[in-house]
Amino acid sequence: MPYQLINLSTFFTEGFALGLSTGAYCLGACAPLLVPYMLGEGKSTWKANGFILMEFMAGRLLAYILFAVIVSFIGIHFSNFISPRLIRLAMGLSGLLMIIYAMGRNFSQPTLCRRALNSPALTRFPLILGFSIGINICPPFAAGMTRLIEMGSILFGIFYFLSFFTGTSLYVLPLILVTPWLKYERLVSAGRLCSFFSGIWFLVQSLR
């Protein structure tokens, strides 16, 4: 087997193992955003919710790949500088998005939030939400980042984060199991209210 291919499979396995071992953390970060959104917006069909979930996951994947490319370019020193700021930004952005969503859905008064929610910029809301939480540099993500810098290769880095994403996704995918509950109107209403609390929580976390 060519040397490059052995390395590729090693990195893939390593990334996947890191994702598997730390996926619960990712679930903890994603669930408070994704579950209220799915409850509030999802339909009681697997297809509709599967689409929301896939969009969210695509947002995360996009953030991971973008991050892998950027970190491979800028190196460890600069990434150490931007990491803490990026965490706050990611948390704040996620919180703000959820508040806009919650205000737009729960109240008829704040037309600004309603307009924002219907604007072309937010038409792919789950994708943006996935991206905003994806750029949040959690401890497992930071561990992956260090390894990425050691590798010094953009291609390997992308593979590494792709496999990391696959490993963590195994924890996030079961969130689609909320689907059968969505036929209850009260739960949909509760999900929309809950998204407001989630928004506040993430916003407060970003300010700490």
Binding site: A29, A31, P32, V35, L187, G191, L193, C194, S198, W201
Partner: protein, 368 residues
Amino acid sequence: MGKIYPKIIFGFLITVLIGIFSWGGWSDPWLGAARIFWAAFVGLTGFLILWTGKISRWRAVLFIAMAWGFMVYFKSESLGLTGKFFTSDQMRESPYCHIAMASSIFNYLYQQYLALKSKAWSAWGPLSLGFLWLIVTLTLGQAWCSWACFYGGLDEGFSRILKKPPLKRFNLPAKIRDMPAAILIFMILISFSAMLPIFCLWVCPLKITTSFLDPIDAARKAQLLIFAVIGILTIIALPLVMGKRTFCGLICPFGAWQALFGQINPFRVTIDQKECSQCGLCAQICPTFAITQDSLKNPRISSYCNRCGVCLDQCPAGAISYTVGPHKNFGPLDAKILFLFSALLVAGAAGALFMPEAIATLARGLFR
């Protein structure tokens, strides 16, 4: 009022059953007497409900007494053991609340697995609590919140102080009633995410009945401030001016939990469509916002109903009743009698865990 003997037998039967359940000997005469007193008190409540036909009035006496008794029991235990009003450590004991458990669910599952494997029965805390919850849910369902919960009597007590609360007729938007469900979902997700019992640490003012954490740093001070604001607002001020149980109806996530799982319990409060005059009085007086003008059109009471009996007592047409499913009778038995028997037994048994101690503590303080 009918014949009095069946009502006396009903009350006596409850007294005997609660007495047997709570019995623990005469080694401490104060406690022994308090156990008998408690059993008799629950039995008397049952008798008075049937004798006067006023369900909620006598239920409230029992319910409010339980909440204050719980506080006396816990506070005296805590002060007696530590001599301090505040708890200085993080919560180390098994949380008895599902919200708190969400943060350490994996630890609990593993701990319980080990307890089962090693037959360490004493370590069965969460399992035993889970089993008790199942029994309570099967026998009472959502009615736990108005009959046996040891916190609910606090806001119920304040909601009954004013005869004519100024905001009694204030109608909340229907979706606000889903707030406890939203808080439940959020708290479970966040507790799991942060691996901390966030509701206990940051929101639940009912720690007033147990103990708060030492306000030693800024975060703890902020927690205490939040507890105080939520507590004063939802347990004292809003119940006073609205005459409603605002903490139980708009905040308590356990209420939402029971509303969901309580559906497995067969007891319901049902409005008879033929007899209902659509006067809307029940919607105005329901203390937990479970009946709205809209729900009267069907007419249907929401799953948040606590079976407290306020609407049954007040309905001028007598159109509201306890039922088993949609039926007023369960075989030869009256659904109302069956429900009251079940509710008083569970309330009496739950209260037996702390009320005799609380009564004995108060009696010792008064008479010694």
